[in-house]
Symmetry: none
Subunit: 209 residues, 4 copies
């Protein structure tokens, strides 16, 4: 029976992860020292190791945490009765996420995770798991749309899902670089691309109406 409650424990853990997120966002995984995280979190050097066995575990925990949001969005989209509306909802939500100022740090760390995934197997697994769940959710929506005749049958669901995600990945990257871009115009363009390329003429006609 732990002396501190599970809630308190989770709170401390989050405190460390928050501090780490800020540090990693600013300096990157490797240039961030455990001392930095300690300083940022207000805990002691030793306390860090009561919650995470190694610095690497903190990185992995952050990568794993990122899935939570994605899982939620996927579930939301899948719950839509109409697959086409589900797709548009997903685009809408991810697009809105792009501009959320509170997630700047998460996105910056996410990008570092992409790079880290190339050489750190644990990060690779974590990042790929998140990616795959989104890809599968989108592909599933597309398949359902094809079944209902709303989405063109010649569209390859998996390739389309990957391509859609790719656009967002690229935009996340460009935004993180501090590029001053017209996100609204990009959004319009992307929605146009999806409509023009995935949806059948009947759906497009109905939408215009």
């Amino acid at each position: 029976m732990p002396k501190i409650t599970e809630t308190k424990r989770e709170e401390r853990r989050q405190q460390i992860l928050d501090a780490a997120l800020r540090c990693f966002s600013r300096d990157g995984f490797h240039a961030t020292t455990t001392a930095d995280i300690v300083r940022e979190s207000g805990l002691s050097q030793g306390a860090l190791y009561l919650y995470f066995a190694t610095k690497d575990d903190i990185v992995v925990a952050l990568a794993d945490d990122r899935h939570q949001g994605e899982v939620f969005l996927n579930a939301l989209a899948k719950s839509e009765q109409d697959p086409v509306q589900g797709l548009l909802l997903l685009i809408e939500l991810y697009g809105r996420g792009l501009t959320d100022q509170r997630r700047i740090e998460m996105r910056r760390v996410g990008i570092q995770g992409w790079a880290e995934a190339l050489r750190n197997p644990r990060i690779h697994d974590s990042v790929l798991q998140g990616f795959s769940s989104v890809r599968a959710a989108i592909a599933e929506l597309i398949r359902r749309g094809q079944a209902t005749g709303q989405i063109r049958p010649d569209v390859e669901p998996d390739a389309a899902a990957r391509t859609m995600i790719a656009v967002f990945q690229g935009l996340v990257l460009q935004l993180a670089w501090g590029e001053d871009m017209d996100l609204a115009a990009c959004g319009t363009l992307i929605r146009g691309m999806i409509r023009n390329t995935l949806f059948t003429d009947a759906v497009r006609a109905a939408e215009s109406a």
Copy 2:
């Protein structure tokens, strides 16, 4: 007055960069030690510092090197008389580059450069310079296409350019992660998106013919 010829010097420099590329691709910038590069290059520890003042300079030099190819592609696309053909050529060339097995290491290092650009100003400048030149080249083609009436006037050239690049960035990333994907299907989809969304009906009709 250097005792070795400029040619010889450039040769050594390249030898170091080649070794660094292999190391960085395998282990990342930070996990690669100068000793690793020395071992991989066959030079001596001291020799490294005759050609690069710091390890960071090697990273920057590699980032700068990456532009060479992009500059060439952009020039090629711009030299096309017909902007629509120029755009399609660019897509074709970049798409082909995706599958070039000889550039696996460069792409892996490139992704690390994306992340590094978030915190290292010199890398940021280098990466952004390359990115901006491509973006400008594409936007310019789009503007020319709008002038000739081949590309829809409501398309925002810069946003479109960014979005097109974003797709490729995302695909590069997914490929580097080792994903087994149907690149041909992605290519078809992307070309379809471009045609459906950027080109005017007249151009699309002419193409179909």
Copy 3:
């Protein structure tokens, strides 16, 4: 006024010492952490410090504990009327102790104490006190034997005592190393050496009879 009885307190203390003995035997003093002892004893980290002020005190307490057995053996030997029989009894008892499987851990820790005594004054005092008491007991027996004419007068009691103890120290060491040795043969040899070198011809003749 302590809330727990003195008996209970002593019980806990012994519980810690037992755990420490197992840990020290396995890993040595220095590689054993207080956390190891806590884990092995089933107590809590804080409880340890209710019974011992420092880790060092545990080591010292274990060293002190070792004397108990020796004190008993010495007393037993001294109580013998016949010094020669006392000597032989001592050899017999110590020799039997060598093969006692229940004391493997004590012997291993004892050897570590020998080394620790070289640098830790408290251990030095503890170990030396135990050693000296045995040495004095043996020397005393020898002196008594010389007084009765059973032991050769040219034997130096203290040197003989040290030498006898030395043999056992060496054998303890070799045994602890896991050496597979013929202890019976060693015993025969040692008894032979004692007889041949310490005892007068009269005693030897009497024994043979």
Copy 4:
């Protein structure tokens, strides 16, 4: 081709081992820090790791070094034509070694090696190898002595060798503890024991003559 000669390299290595010996003798293996060794050796922290991969390697190297002398003594004893003279020579040499003031530190470290051998397999192997070679050399001398009729046939060579070594181990220990002992008396006693117990009457008679 190393820049520094093999001689110079060996010199530095020895410089570190000498410093380590002093530190280990004074503070023990575990209480000695690499910083201590660095300070004592006059080298830099990094230099240490050019010659030894880990602190543990230094400990092992010191343990291994100890064999050199033993190998020499064994060879010397074996080269004796007369096994009995060989045995007495060995006792003489080891006994003299006991009082060599220059080897105080080596003996102190050696004792720590005994303890360390109980838990560190590399040290165990190193220490046991040294021990075994001496034991084998003595047992071989005894066997040769039995073949020539100089040593009693009922003596178990291996047990006798172990017992002889045991005496020296115990005396080394007692000396290291700082005990003020009459080594000459011990020597006389030991020689007496060997003569009285191992040698046949013929040999003893010849010696007395």
